[in-house]
């Protein structure tokens, strides 16, 4: 297990390095890169352009730029945002908190899929199972941005219940504002959890040790709790990590629809402003979070299930 963790850690670091290199050269080498972003502003004179190029380090030869960028990145310095004229880390930092709130709540929404999956599995083939399964299939086919818009038009437009934005700061107002985006963002996780738990429970039910438990006359309640649920729910832990990447993409859409001032909307603002240092910084942050998520999922699997042996 220890060796496995070390190997996965090394792999992750190499992966992050590869993605960093790839994205750096992608942005510096292609037309439409930072040069164009500066040039496209008609108010920028030749002198200002020269000053800006110096300031953002675009004058150095490419390999030097790359090495400088790598060294700075190692110290969490990803350069300055064009649009905000602030260090990228500071700009991102100021937007982390709202997205963190949203993400945490949507994890909670996603976990509601656990009881739903258990219900579906224990009612296999009956009405409630069919309803839950149909809803998960439809749920995967619905475009999330459209669902968000429709809810807004219905709820806040027509009835005026759940307003946009972040509210005035009182807890009640905060709750009113966050509930819809959190539910929407958590929907994908809810479906994933429901499906996963359903199939896990169904698989465990057919195991020999469950039949043994029943055969030796254990109370049905005990069989369900100690033998079926406990074994079926263990792998759920691993899903927590792998849900992270989907949450990142979802946050961009959800925050844009609900006007939520987090990192997702910051990303869209940076894209519209062609703020390449900021975009690159957020791409890297997203990649690192994704890699951490996968890493935790792999490790978690080994920790909770002693049957898993790593080579």
């Amino acid at each position: 297990m220890g060796r496995f963790i070390v190997r996965r850690l090394v792999q992750s670091v190499v992966l992050i390095f590869a993605v960093m290199t790839l994205s750096f050269f992608l942005i510096r080498l292609t037309p439409g890169g930072p040069e164009t972003a500066l040039l496209s502003n008609p108010r920028v004179s030749a002198e200002t352009l020269q000053r800006m190029r110096q300031r953002f380090g675009l004058d150095d030869p490419l390999p030097i730029q790359y090495l400088k960028w790598l060294r700075n990145a190692a110290e969490f310095d990803f350069g300055r945002s064009y649009a905000y004229s602030l260090p990228v880390v500071d700009v991102i930092g100021s937007r982390v908190w709202p997205t963190f709130q949203l993400g945490l709540l949507s994890y909670g929404v996603g976990l509601l899929g656990v009881p739903l999956g258990v219900i579906a599995a224990s009612a296999r083939g009956r009405m409630s199972d069919t309803v839950i399964r149909v809803l998960t299939v439809v749920g995967t086919s619905v475009p999330s941005w459209w669902l968000g818009l429709s809810i807004i038009v219905l709820m806040s437009g027509t009835i005026g219940w759940f307003p946009n934005g972040q509210g005035n700061g009182s807890p009640w107002d905060w709750a009113r504002h966050i509930i819809l985006p959190a539910v929407l963002l958590g929907l994908g996780g809810l479906i994933t959890f429901t499906r996963f738990v359903r199939s896990e429970v169904l698989e465990v039910i057919s195991q020999d040790y469950v039949r043994t438990a029943r055969a030796k006359g254990l109370a049905e309640r005990v069989v369900q709790r100690a033998h079926i649920l406990r074994n079926a729910l263990i792998p759920v832990v691993t899903l927590l990590g792998s849900l992270l990447p989907a949450l990142l993409g979802g946050a961009v859409i959800t925050e844009s629809i609900f006007n939520w001032p987090g990192m997702g909307r910051l990303f869209l603002e940076a894209a519209s402003a062609r703020d390449y240092p900021l975009l690159l910084g957020m791409l890297l942050l997203g990649t690192v979070l994704t890699i951490i998520g996968t890493f935790l999922a792999d490790i978690g699997y080994g920790l909770v299930d002693p049957r898993v042996r790593y080579a």
Binding site: V137, V142, L149, I253, L279
Partner: protein, 293 residues
Amino acid sequence: MKGPPRSFLSSSLRRFVADRLSLAALILFVLILVITITAPLLARFVLSTSPDEFLRTPQGRIATLQAPGPGYLLGTDELGRDNLTRLLYAGQVSLTIGFLVAFVALAIGAPLGLVAGFYGGRTDDVVNALVQVVINIPTLFILIILSVMFSPSVIGLALIFGLFYWPSTTRQVRGLVLSLRNRDYVDAARVLGASDARILVRHILPNVISIVTVVAGFDVAAAILGESALSFLGFGVPVPLSSWGNMLSGSQDTFRSAPWLVYPPGLMILLTVLSVFLIADGLRDAFDPRVRA
């Protein structure tokens, strides 16, 4: 069983059609396909509109934001264009992207999976590393960045999508090839002196085609959803071309007062993606020799 033994393909198709849900999904999808392909004819001869035409009210003013009524069955948008006409034309763009992305993903993913599974070792490691890099980059982030940098056309957009949608094909194909390459009939072919290329094309590829078809189906659905999100955010299909996603990328205030603009594009995506999902799912069951009804 009566009659001559059926081939794998025809018995699979029989099983697919026998499943009522899959058949219904197929009929729905063909219907969507037909009205989308014939959109220019429908718009011209049935609705007598064109997607860029600004409609006028009886008083002669441009009919902006009209609720559904005679003359415009699904209402008009903020510029006075017929919503139904745009919806039909938008389908052409959305479906084209869906199929193109699946094609690109297959063209990249299937060969990589074949080679990785067949040769193993170093080749497999390299392919795996590529897969790891692609799946760990947040897709929506990189798609937005690339779209800002290149301002792609519809074809370009599909190519960019394809660059990030192939790993699922590679993984599935690789896994299958890994289990196929040591079968007796493959050994037999090798003993008879068949080259690697011949074994891959004649003996392995035919067994992989069914799984590739299923993955391609899921790719089409995922691509239509992905394109709609990107276009809605304003980084996808460039205006004035309309796709189901960018029909709503305008101002949010307009469609708050005009809910008839909100529902149709999303419903079309939902129905299309749902039918493609169900078809792919039905095909997976039909191809699976263990599920013989």
